[in-house]
């Protein structure tokens, strides 16, 4: 009886581990789920760092009173350390996002993406998305 319980428990733990690994970020049921990031009055992307899988989409929502951007384009950065784009990935830029506006981007190239908000880059409004390869 004890052995069965132990087996069930370890199977359950394994299942939890597999699900958690298969869908990093906010998704629990699969990597097709959209990951949500907010943009704040305190000049932050929240969460500032997130990990997703190739093919997954991130949706940024401007929950602040300010105008922000989601910009991942080395040509538009004031400082090179605020931007990173894996080789082969296209730059992207939401343009100005008014309060409540949303912007979506689907990541098709794995690697580390560093992005920023154009007006508030110097005030530390930068974020990071790590895109893992498909399983």
């Amino acid at each position: 009886m004890k052995k069965i319980a132990l087996f069930v428990l370890s199977a359950l733990m394994l299942w939890v581990a597999v699900v958690a690994f298969a869908a990093p970020g906010k998704s629990k049921t699969g990597h097709s789920k959209v990951v949500h990031i907010t943009m704040t009055n305190t000049l932050k992307f929240n969460p500032a760092s997130d990990t997703i899988r190739v093919g997954q989409t991130v949706e940024w929502r401007n929950t602040s009173l300010l105008v922000h951007t989601v910009t991942c384009d080395p040509k538009k950065a004031a400082k090179p350390e605020h931007v990173a784009l894996p080789e082969g990935a296209e730059p992207f830029d939401s343009g100005n996002m008014d309060p409540d506006a949303t912007f979506r981007h689907t990541f098709t190239v794995p690697g580390v993406y560093k992005y920023f908000c154009i007006p508030h880059e110097a005030a530390g409004m930068v974020g990071e998305i790590v895109v893992l390869p498909a399983k």
């Binding site: 305190t42 602040s64 009173l65 400082k79 100005n96 880059e121 110097a122």
Partner: protein
Amino acid sequence: MRSVYQKFHRRWQRPFGKLVLLAAAVGLFMAGTVRLQAQMKENPKMMQMIKKMKQKAVAKDYVRAHMKVKNPKKLLGGPIEVTVTQNSGGVFVALPDFRRLDPRIFGTPEMPRAFEGTPGITGLPVFLREVENGQFTKMKKKSPFGDKYIVMANGKLSLKAVDATATDAATTEDQLQFRASWQDKAGNTYEVRANKVAAHGLEFPTFGGVATNVILHGFTGLGTPLMPSEFTYVAFWGMGQVLKNGKVVDGPRLVHGMLTEYVRTEGYKLGFDKDVTPTRLQFHLMVAPFKPDMEHMSYMPAPVKTGFKLPNGMELPFWHVMFENLQISANRK
């Protein structure tokens, strides 16, 4: 445009007479630590020092040499017309805070810099600076120049300025149309308007009221050293009104605006000179808690009636508001 100041002079200085001058010598530039002000009132030595420091403002003789010129020179290359607008998005409203002191600007206790002039307008007396381990650390009083802010909604900005006259003078061809507004959580609208420029400064030059492509603040001695040195694409110094929900609540007031390189850092902290980001821009609006003191070519403290209450119940005594969602255009006329 001397008349702007003269009007001001008549309206504000005469009725209050010596009382105002006493307040000028005694008080500093905003309602802050009451204790410190009381201390200064009781301390004639300190009053004398502030008076002396006001007289010592470094650009005073320069302004004197220009303020009576009737036919000032024009800007090299012709007048520049500038438009700056913000149509949507919020603003950053600075709250009273203790300014950290950049050693590059303020020197050290052994070799202080930037102490002359009206405290807060062009200088910061050494006795208003905190010292730790032989270095200046921060101001002893709160000022409009610090790291604290709140965000307010619906920021609108419309600036049309013409920089035609090059230098300070008795008259100017510089032009100004300025309007800015924003809203608090309760839906109150705050607004500042200005359309008269100050043809000459008092403690530092105003370049005819509108200046373009010049460095201000910080090491320059042009305006408060509590702001970092910043390249300024356009700046104006004028007289205008402060409104709340469409009604004038204060005026005439000194209104100063400037489009500059970015001087905020991580967490929106006001940076030192080393922190300036040259390739990002911001617009600052300042309605300072001072009024001009023509007789002494100086300034006297006068909190602004903003109509905005701080959490502690005190009325915010200045407007220092930053706009960062900007459209900018400029051309030579």
